[in-house]
């Protein structure tokens, strides 16, 4: 029983990272129906920029927001320079464009920082642990979960309770009508890209101390984040969070009791099952198709 609780605790920490990735994916998908395949690489870039600043003696509290800001600028720039001009592109075309961005960003990271693994200095420790009853929680896990929850709440508040969030929802629902009502749709899209990228950057920074810093570190978490988003429903923030936590816990319990080797495979089995049974995801709205 204790063991199960311990696995679930670990799953919660991993799950909050998945939830963060999923949140960025969902934010973009809701507003523009674009699935951003570059999300993981943008996140990696954010972590690397923060890392570079920290090696130049910039404090952690400055370096991380700077890294997030850098990738936010990249996301917005990608919207204005690439997606805007290609607005006639089909769904497939848009997926291809983000794949191109993914390749280019990951290539740039390898050229600038090399393919070697680096240790990311993080103020929280992985070895300093607390005990909750019989469950062991490391400072790192607590920090990750806290950061995850704080960012989730901030995102939810922004989208549901502020004027900008209202504009984002309006643009997501009908860009033409929103524009006719005086909402600057293009700027809102760019803002959405920036926000989603910044969220990705935050996820990258939180993940870097766990998996070490290397150009492909986000591939796996990013796929899991996608899986979480699909599981929870691609257009639902609470769904993305729920999906992230559920996936993290399921994976950790599976790795603990059944097979550690096949834990990544499990994620995809789960997505395929969810999609077959409930294509709109756990909390997504009904799956409509217009003729």
């Amino acid at each position: 029983m204790t063991q199960l609780a311990q696995y679930m605790m670990g799953g919660l920490a991993t799950g909050s990272l998945y939830a963060l990735v999923a949140l960025g994916v969902v934010l973009l998908y809701r507003s523009s129906r674009v699935l951003n395949f570059a999300h993981g690489d943008i996140a990696t870039l954010g972590a690397f920029v923060a890392f570079m600043l920290m090696t130049r003696a910039v404090p952690f509290a400055v370096a991380v927001p700077a890294g997030m800001a850098a990738v936010a600028a990249l996301g917005a720039a990608f919207y204005f320079l690439v997606l805007r001009p290609a607005k006639e592109a089909t769904l497939l075309g848009k997926i291809v464009l983000t794949l191109g961005l993914a390749l280019a960003v990951s290539g740039a990271i390898q050229v600038v920082w090399g393919a070697d693994t680096q240790v990311f200095p993080f103020p929280l420790s992985d070895t300093r642990v607390y005990r909750l009853g019989q469950i062991v929680v490391s400072e790192m896990m607590l920090g990750t979960i806290t950061a995850g929850v704080v960012l989730l709440v901030a995102m939810y508040t922004l989208v549901q309770k502020t004027k900008i969030g209202l504009a984002m929802r309006a643009v997501a629902q009908n860009p033409d009508a929103a524009q006719a009502l005086g909402i600057p749709a293009r700027r809102i899209y760019a803002l959405t890209w920036g926000l989603a990228s910044a969220l990705g950057g935050a996820a990258g920074v939180l993940l870097a101390p766990v998996v070490y810093l290397d150009p492909f570190m986000m591939l796996d978490p990013f796929l899991k984040g996608f899986a979480a988003a699909v599981m929870g429903g691609m257009d639902s923030f609470p769904g993305a969070v729920l999906g992230g936590f559920l996936l993290g816990i399921a994976e950790n319990v599976f790795a603990g009791y059944v097979s550690f080797k096949f834990k990544t495979t499990l994620a995809f089995v789960i997505i395929i099952l969810v999609l077959l049974v409930r294509p709109e995801g756990l909390l997504g709205r009904e799956y409509h198709r217009r003729v």
Partner: protein, 333 residues
Amino acid sequence: MVRSLVERYEDDLFLVKGVPGWTAVAVLLVGLAVLPFLLPRLGLGYLLFILILMAANVIVAVGLNLLVGYTGLISLGHAGFVAIGAYASGLLVTRLGLPWYVAWIGAAAISAGFGFLVGLPALRLAGPYLAIATLGFGIAVYQVLTNWTALSGGRTGLPVAQLSLGIAALTPTQQLYYVAIAAAVGLSWVAYNLTRSHIGRALAAIRDSDIAAEITGVSLTWYKTLAFAISAAYAGVAGAVIAQALRHLEPQSFTFLESITYFAMIVIGGLGTVSGAIIGGVILTLLPHFLSGFKQWLPIIYGVAIIVMMLIEPRGLYGRWVRVKMYFKAWPL
């Protein structure tokens, strides 16, 4: 030179048009046939190996384009099918001692079977969801191969017995070259014919609007799974070629990056045309080879090339070529 106008639908469907077309095809085929003898004399014998890989990539690209370009179903996990074909052919030859051609057909069939299985969820999934599902499939195949050591030899790899045509005058590499090129040319020819048959038209109808296609009597269940199965069979044959070329299989050769590279081939060459896939396969095999000094720049070059291509010429290099050709044909109009 002004060619006569196209007057009948059949004229438009001819695979090779006129004397220039036939000359080009003949030159290409003769050129491919003499290369194994020409290259060693020029001191470029090692290029033969690159050309074998090129043939494999062309086969994958043509198959992938049938799925993505013609049917409009996305697959980001094609390296998985290639891996299945490679390991299936390797195991059939090495463990069961079957002759290589049986093993290749077996590889195509097994891959097609998996293609059919992946095609089943594709009936319910569209666009981004399908992208994720296929991507997951590719990664799952990689992981299973890495971890299921009894099947794959694990990280130490699986040795593959060399194929032999029984022609003493040719070196093993030359023999493989001829088999690989014959497979690439033959499968491209099949793909050309497939695209101008009722199957090809059904696939294009699904791409343009699957609801409209279904209403006009195209069975989505049949054609979507068929597209996946055919595409996977192509990838399976390519896997068999790669298995023979490398002679030693490791899961590392079939990662997510390979899937993306296959995808880049058809986008850069031209979505929705067989010729485009061939061009993409050729360029994206030869380019890295000649740019080997800039290896770390390759992902950036691919990425930017994909973006630029989608922005200015969504029909790819082949589409641009057709446009240039039409311009000169119609000149000075």
